[in-house]
Amino acid sequence: MQTPERQSMEVDIVCTGFGPATGGFLTTLAEAMNDDQGQPALMSRVMPGMPLQVICYERADDIGFGVSGIVTRAKGIRDSLPDLDPSQIPLAHSVEGEEVLYLLDPHKVSRRSWSLKMLDRLVHAGKWLLPYKEHAVKLPYIPGFLSKHDGLLLSMGQFNQWVGSQLMSSGLVQVWPGMPVKEPLIEDDQVVGVRLIDQGTDREGNPDAGFMPGMDIRAPLTVVGDGPVGSVGQKLDEHFGLPEGNHQREWALGMKMVIDLPPDCELKPGMVLHTFGYPEPEIFGFLYVYPDGVASAGIFVPSWLDSPVRTSYRYLQHWMTHPALWKHLEGSTMRSWGAKSLQESGKAGEPFLVGDGYARIGEGSGSTNVLTGSGVDEAWTTGVQLAEAVIELVKQDKPFTRENLENTYVRRRRESWVEKEGRVAERSRDGFQKGFVRGLIGMGITGLTGGWLNLSGDSKPPHERIPSIEEHYAGKIPADELKKMRAQCTESGTSLQEALLNRCGWPEIPFDGKLLVSQQDALLMGGKVQAPPGYADHVVFINPELCESCSEKLCIDMCSGQAIAPGENDGVPQFDREKCVHCGACMWNCTRARDGDAEQTNIKFGVGAGGLHSAEN
């Protein structure tokens, strides 16, 4: 077969990933591209005489397929969109009320430390005095650093779609979904553009019917906004490393559903409910109420949940059926479902923000504030800051060198609230490294002292934190029984994690066919997941021997879409691209370190086509 030639195209600015950061970047840039008379104000360098040529490639099949229900102060977003009217964006609403609930464990099965058990006893003893209802205590007040009053509730999918359509109708920039970017083009430590994914390949990436090599998009500036598990960001980190002292070891998996609340639900639009304490102490939950009886509800399973059993989907169902939530959710119907990895290292995980020919924005650039639990507004703002820098450099006819980008973009970012608040938050979660209660206290101390005081805790890569199943259950389940369970599950091809949860007393989920459905039904009814044929697998198990020796295979149970299944003879797991929701959880839940790089795991998570087809998330 004759291999077609790889084609190349030149633009001024190529962006990878269309999320809030790129949205902020393109919105700000587009506004400056024409002058008052509608004439081009920023001119192209690669196509002299033409306006600036700006193009953005998004991996997912549409620009609205991002996964997040968010509550945000929307400070940065409102700064750049002063006329923003939430009623113009489906599912958007102003924040009208906030509550934080500490959830007790009605089934007495969660992993609670002695200190937490003490706390629970105290709560029980004083429940007549406390705002205690349905196994939950409402916190009497919400610390300022957590509060989102005057903020906005948004569906990230709908917000992205709205921003994207404003941009496209301006005709000034182009945003192309369904086009994954494989990697940056790096020449002599200078980023000169990106290479798009090869199309028409087999699962290993070899040319197949209709092979079309991914095009090279060469550009003086590459804007990297492809999120925490984006392939361009990952490749840049592999090439340039991280600044000394920085690490990306903290993660969380956010899994949620958008649901139609029952008609008699008393929750009002704009209500924000945050929970902690259940189904495991470390798992945080959220319930945001949108207009028209719709809500977004989900949990975060963090990397510091030191347990080898962490099936997010099952935990999500236990969380929803907690009496304090179920009183609102009973009778609901799932509309959509999805999952996403969050880079929780925040400022501590910041990569090199700029280099010759590239700049990084958004979550992948370490902008998420882990204390306030806010990322979208920060991401948007970093995009705006980069756009302002680009406008300045284009107008001054200066090249996009590291130095020029440092002096314009990085300077703006360092002087902004994003940096200031990010620094306060930088060490706020260190306490969680040594336990949940210590973590909570640490967050409180950091928040209340504005970052002056923090509780310490050494960070470790997730794969070093996760004990083996045998270690974890030592003393709880006899070794013989555990061995038998393992053998039975392997033989029947069923999940050991599910069996372990059942064995520990977690109740079975009473499927109702509406909200409580099997994970496969959630994937199809709620996630609407699909993948087009003709692309390489984007999840690769690097060293098969490491997989064969792995007894946890957490990648299988942590896979949000059940896209990773046991392999032959319990060896290398199998990956089914059709079911992948591109959350990236496999990458950081792998319990084996990569050969030659202890910060990475044995799973390579690259870029692939397809995924969720839900725009409501």
């Binding site: 699962r203 499927f511 066919g513 009814m525 044929p533 032959e568």
Partner: protein, 344 residues
């Protein structure tokens, strides 16, 4: 007073096909429900007398036809002229025809020529306050609407498999043959004939009593840790041979084909049943190695009796989607089923 015109075309052997007889039954029932209505039969074909005689006792008030060799073939130009003439001659206010490929192609254009309106693939009719109402499906048969129209003439094509085929005595029908002149424009298209598709492909057989659905489980590893795709192929083909069942598939199984995994050679996307596939009509359906997730089961809407074989007692078939779920190894069960079937 409603004037009902029933339109049908003869087959190559001069008979009326089953969907045509079903549409005739629909027309008769409509006439009965409306009370004050006439029924005209309008036939098209090379030679229509035998077909007219076969339905002579159907209760029609009148038999019209357009006949001749040029009308023995399925061609838009000539069919459109013929049906337009039948509508004019009968002064029809409601036209019913079977939703065959030939009718489906031509009826909308004729409706436009006659300043009428059209609904296709009608699955039910009733009369409310003296006015006919129909049922038809939208969004790839995912939702059903009941509607009526004021405009006349109203053209309706009747979906196959909804009404019982009309049965009655043959007789001698007095057929009025209408003269239809074909100008050059109507014969710019020459019909060459029919052509079979690849005979190795097992497709959905609309006439079959049973739908067999094969799910992705057939290609997955079995208890011995190995896949057994050739065995699965043989089991399924044997079953299809002995039952003449129609073969459907879940999306995940046919998608594996595109991904280059080992799958069954006789399956293609043409077999896919479900939200992104087809919605076949069969009295019975048997799902094997398929989980029964909602998007797939959407395609089972017109399968009356449903049984499933799956290893997982919690699979979706158990959630009120099947009448019976056998929790068992499909390889083992289907082998026994084939043995029993071969014994006759």
């Amino acid at each position: 007073m409603a004037s009902i015109l029933y339109v049908a075309h003869t087959e190559a052997d001069g008979t009326l096909c089953k969907p045509a007889l079903e549409a005739l039954e629909a027309a008769r029932q409509l006439k009965g429900s409306l009370g004050d209505a006439t029924l005209t039969v309008g036939l098209i074909g090379h030679d229509v007398q035998a077909a007219a005689d076969a339905i002579a006792s159907c209760g029609a008030d009148r038999f019209l036809a357009v006949a001749g060799s040029e009308f023995g073939v399925s061609r838009y130009g000539s069919d459109a002229l013929a049906i337009t003439e039948l509508v004019k001659a009968s002064e029809a206010t409601v036209i019913l025809a079977p939703a065959t490929s030939r009718v489906t192609r031509v009826l909308p254009g004729v409706a436009n020529r006659c300043d009428g309106c059209i609904d296709t693939q009608v699955t039910g009719m009733s009369v409310e306050d003296g006015q006919a109402q129909i049922q038809r499906w939208y969004y790839r048969q995912r939702m059903v609407a009941t509607l009526t129209r004021d405009q006349s003439p109203w053209f309706l094509s009747i979906a196959a498999g909804v009404y019982d085929a009309w049965k009655g005595d043959t007789g001698t029908a007095q057929v009025e043959i209408l003269a239809v002149e074909l100008d050059g424009g109507a014969t710019r298209t020459r019909v060459i004939g029919t052509k079979a598709t690849d005979s190795d492909t097992q497709t959905i057989r609309p006439e079959a009593d049973l739908l067999l659905v094969a799910g992705a489980g057939w290609t997955k590893k079995q208890a011995d840790g190995q896949t057994h795709v050739p065995d699965a192929e043989q089991l399924l083909l044997e079953f299809l041979d002995s039952t003449q069942a129609s073969l459907g598939s879940s999306k995940s199984l046919v998608d594996q084909d595109a991904e280059g995994q080992a799958v069954m050679g006789f399956l293609s996307h043409m077999n896919q049943v479900g939200q992104t596939g087809s919605t076949p009509r069969h009295p019975k359906g048997l799902a094997t190695c398929c989980h029964g997730e909602e998007p797939h089961v959407v395609g089972w809407r017109f399968i009356n009796q449903r049984r499933a074989i799956n290893m997982d007692p919690n699979c979706s078939w158990a959630q009120g989607k099947a009448d019976v779920l056998y929790v068992a190894d499909a390889f083992e069960v289907m082998k026994k089923v084939n043995d029993l079937l071969s014994k006759g």
